[in-house]
Subunit: 663 residues, 2 copies
């Protein structure tokens, strides 16, 4: 068997596993795995540094299948290379309930799946984040411990999505030369030829953003190898546009959209077996070919041993710190630093906007947690995300901890996900809450994957004032709370902000959004409390003077209004308690007994939030009083808007009195 | 006064109005209006075809300020050119409550504001839509009636946003040669120099997508004019990168980020007055300069008269049709066609997926409503958006009515908005409901503007099956319902789908989303009803046999389950009614009496929806039974997922029986 024959048979093993699995599931995308099998075979047999026996080896090369619909490519590779999690039974169980082999690669389902892909373009931006993480960690721990490539396999769809432009222009700017995008340039999209919808010269486009670009025949192993070799030696990130035939090997359907997202059918598979000379039964890989693949799986074992030795030889402190960061544990002093900070706050509770309170909390956290890496989508001064410790990263110097992400909310969020997935970094990044919409697909994926990305969203209501309704979130708190496994924090003052930050940094498997005000707020937490009260999601901030007739629930900037309304009501002889609700999701997690006690049984329940009512009925019931927004905001100074939209203590008092009179 | 002096003074009028207004408001962005004043002055005095006296003239050139934060540029222009809506008092009232001069340009606040901008990148994509509308209408009505340019002024921020890539690659592909992007290339972003975050060669990038590109000095009126002239004669869309100085004229702050988003301060404005030799008082424009501007406002009056004559000379049918379409009225036969179609459906109610039902309804609608222009983000066969009448548009032939948008959900939605804003077209476009997240910023703007964009979102739940959680919406119905002024329809069968389509097409000031199933559904509307029952948002689909003990509310694919559960409960002697809820928002609009009657007073209320509970409490109360999702979905065949997540008639029956037993 010549080396070319060996290559072909190894690639064909991917092709037939993919065809067979899609056929058995009667659902899936065989075209990409068949078309990209040669590229993947060359990459994994000649270049990838990874170890199926130690899939979490921190210095492994990362491989991301950005075109996630071609999941059978990844599953085939993992099985063939000897990753334990993906057995042939898993392949046979493709797309079935409980299988590790979901329709699209799901992070956490199996070792070797570096990120969840499927929503197009995300994988490229995750890859940018991983390559950033690599550079950041390399500049801290040295190339003895950190020195790896990030490979991304992307299709036309990934490149048409806008997020790809944000990602590639960021990567080009930062000169992420160890990032290599393998473009499966097959000219076919689901609707038909790419020429139905696009005429972009992708190489020219990437070059315009400072990338090294190449074209190569994606079915010629030597051409593939030469291109990857050249890419690895580039001083810039590289795009290799591999001309491929989608569904390569299917004699009648290859090169058409018929092979994109549907099973080939028994007949076409039979014809492919003949055309490619593949005589094995479905799901069977000839033992000599499986052996070759398993051998390829061992190719980095020596490198890994050498790396282990280097880690063992590092000084104890470096080693402990590297291991701590890669485990995702926080420094021991973290909790006590927050408590100390809260103690200091209580001495002289500051009246600040929560975006400023966030900066103050970050000053404390960034001092203690060196893996915090911040940034903003060109709103640094508004988001207050930069602290004294976080020097900006530049293309030539990654010793900093602050990223100027540019006006790229979507790629920022996805790159943050990539950094969190890489490990060793806790990423946070800011924009205006209204523009969480731009980042939403990546924020959802952070939730689905269960990773620690922290989104800092300032200017969180009409309280931002004059910028007007395009910039004023009214539905965003509700729409973010709707995402499963996502903590949406809306702290009321500096103490709650510190507490919410503490929870966000400690939540290893749930991403967080901090919704923060532009405008200054009066402090409401005036006494020192060692416990993190926000961790319960909602808690009684002010008791009623007697058996409560009214409970007022509020979040963020409206807690101040709630407290004022309570005092007015109490003055009128109406016992009123105030519950602060910094996080719906955490309250949902509390024991029933606690929830009941907090909800209480005052005859009148009020909620105040400068957003829409959706979601609040679970606190106040359908007959509760809601003081908030019913539609879009307006452009005017903030105090006028609060009056205009009737979000005032006076409005609360009047609504409560009206209700009590009617009872 | 030389012509250059005149130009300079006219441009300075923009600069000082902008400085003064931002200063008085103590809020806003003076830098862009000052930097782009020369470009705008040349454009509006030498090229723009428009008529301040007839601002809605259908064949006017469109001007879009994509960099919406520079709103004072637009307001200054509209005032100077003589648009009635923008008086000097409005300028003085910049960013104040009730002013037409909101912080960012708001569509509908004043004639001459062609679209709402502020969220960056949207304006470029709106412009692509407007240029598409122009081509589409030109190919129908001829260039006597339709022949205009679309100019977009964009900044670095617009070009960094991913949506811009989607928009420019679509425009380049379609060869929209009457689209001209004026890039205010001032090298400054909010955080500082653009070089902090980006190194893209924008001309090279646009060229890669088939654009004509040029560079010019943005402060030299002759260079500006020459570039625009050349752009107008191009056979491709054109980007002109105008090198400008942000805050031009402010002696100490120009060219820095200090002038981007804050008032200049009295001292710097004084210095600017000296530097530019401007002696007029704040908000005062010297009368000779105002006269020159008003003259510029008259420059297209003759052209408009000539156009009116051409319209008058057109044959009566063409003229009536053109005017009807530009008014946004529907053909008279529209309603009866829907009723006829529903009558036909009742003869043999089909068991189809609602995405297929949508295609069937569109076959009827597209036959009668020629201004319907469809499309899909590369999911044509899955979204069922293409009907027999809708031939695809190609770069050289715009006689079609179907757009292959490519994998560009965001630009699709924004281009649809642009077409709706242009007038003469009712755009609809499809993707998977899960990927509404990618399009969300534009969907929100459609709602804020109150325009008729119709989003066709198929694969609307775990019912899509094997693609798994990345593709399965669970929070999307809730998060879209959260957007004010947005109809979210989830029809249950072919009849409801037709009704929802009817409402969507008739709703001139509210955009719609149709959430449609991938999977086949049993018909539930078996009798012919002339009335559009879905128009009430919720209605009783099945009565109880006796006084109802149970009301089951459901939407879309879960209505079938509700009907089955009702039958099972009735069999067990438990009188149960079913309410179908195709649209929350329309139900919200109903009179209290109707709402009460529909909610009813059965002791047990149940809601079934294969999404999260958020929003449902208003139907079932906080103690109601909710049968739906609590977290993300999974990859498996749809029927298994419904069982796995407990969304079955059996689960409903068991929950109801449990509740009744406990009472």
């Amino acid at each position: 068997m010549t080396s070319r024959e060996k290559h072909d048979r190894m690639a064909n093993a991917i092709r037939f596993l993919s065809m067979d699995a899609v056929e058995k599931a009667n659902s899936g995308h065989p075209g990409l795995p068949m078309g990209a099998a040669d590229i993947a075979t060359v990459l994994f047999t000649r270049f990838m540094k990874h170890d199926p026996q130690n899939p979490k080896w921190p210095d492994r090369d990362r491989f991301i299948l950005s075109a996630g619909h071609g999941s059978m490519l990844l599953y085939s590779l993992l099985y063939l290379l000897g990753y334990e999690d993906i057995t042939v039974d898993e392949i046979k169980n493709f797309r079935q309930l409980g299988a590790r082999t979901a329709g699209h690669p799901e992070y956490g389902h199996a070792a070797g799946i570096e990120t969840t892909t499927g929503p197009l373009g995300q994988g490229i931006a995750n890859g940018v984040g991983m390559a950033m993480a690599e550079r950041l960690l390399r500049s801290r721990f040295g190339e003895d411990l950190v020195n790896h490539y990030t490979y991304v396999l992307a299709g036309d769809g990934c490149l048409m999505e806008g997020i790809s432009q944000e990602a590639i222009s960021l990567a080009g700017h930062l000169k992420l030369n160890k990032l290599i995008v393998l473009f499966d340039d097959n000219n076919i999209s689901i609707d038909g030829p790419v020429s139905l919808a696009d005429s972009t010269d992708q190489c020219a486009r990437f070059a315009a953003s400072g990338w090294n670009t190449m074209r190569a025949d994606g079915h010629d192993p030597e051409a593939i190898a030469a291109a990857i070799e050249a890419a690895r030696n580039s001083d810039r990130p590289t795009l290799i546009a591999f001309r491929t035939t989608i569904g390569f090997g299917a004699p009648n359907k290859a090169g058409t959209n018929k092979v994109h997202g549907s099973p080939l059918g028994a007949e076409e598979i039979k014809a492919a077996r003949q055309a490619l000379g593949w005589t094995a039964e479905p799901f069977e890989v000839p033992s000599d070919i499986l052996d070759e693949w398993r051998l390829a799986g061992l190719r980095s074992a020596k490198e890994r041993t050498a790396w282990e030795k280097r880690l063992a030889a590092a000084d104890a402190e470096t080693r402990a710190e590297f291991e701590r960061r890669m485990r995702g544990d926080l420094p021991e002093a973290f909790d006590s630093a927050i408590v100390d900070y809260k103690r200091k706050l209580a001495e002289n509770p500051p009246a600040v906007a929560t975006r400023n309170a966030s900066e103050m909390a970050l000053e404390v956290i960034n001092d203690i947690v060196p893996e915090m890496v911040g940034g903003s989508a060109d709103l640094t001064g508004s988001n207050n995300t930069k602290t004294s410790q976080t020097k900006p990263v530049t293309p030539d110097d990654f010793s900093g901890r602050y990223i100027h992400y540019g006006i790229r909310e979507h790629a920022m969020a996805a790159a943050m996900n990539g950094m969190a997935l890489h490990g060793g970094i806790i990423p946070y990044g800011g924009t205006f809450l209204c523009f969480s919409d731009y980042a939403r697909p990546s924020m959802r994926l952070a939730s689905l994957m269960g990773i620690r990305s922290i989104f800092v969203m300032t200017h969180d209501s009409i309280g931002l004032g004059e910028d007007g309704p395009t910039h004023q979130p009214v539905e965003h708190l509700a729409s973010l709370r709707a995402i499963p496994n996502h903590y949406v924090f809306r702290p009321a003052d500096a103490v709650e902000t510190a507490e919410c930050w503490q929870i966000a940094v400690e939540s290893r498997t749930t991403p967080s959004t901090l919704a923060l005000t532009r405008q200054k707020l009066a402090p409401v937490r005036l006494e020192f409390e060692e416990d993190n009260l926000s961790a319960r999601g909602a808690y009684e901030l002010r008791p009623a003077s007697d058996e409560a007739k009214v409970t007022i629930f509020a979040t963020g900037s409206e807690v101040e209004i709630a407290v004022k309304a309570r005092d007015m009501l109490e003055e009128r002889g109406i016992p009123t308690r105030v519950v602060s609700v910094p996080c719906f999701e955490l309250f949902e997690e509390q024991p029933e007994e606690y929830r009941k006690a907090i909800l209480g049984n005052a005859p009148v329940r009020v909620a105040i939030e400068a957003g829409i009512r959706q979601g609040w009925d679970s606190f106040i019931g359908t007959d509760g009083i809601f003081i908030g927004m019913k539609g879009f905001g307006a452009s005017a100074p903030a105090p006028e808007l609060y009056k205009h939209f009737g979000i005032t203590a006076e409005a609360v008092v009047s609504a409560v009195e009206g209700r009590l009179a009617a009872k």
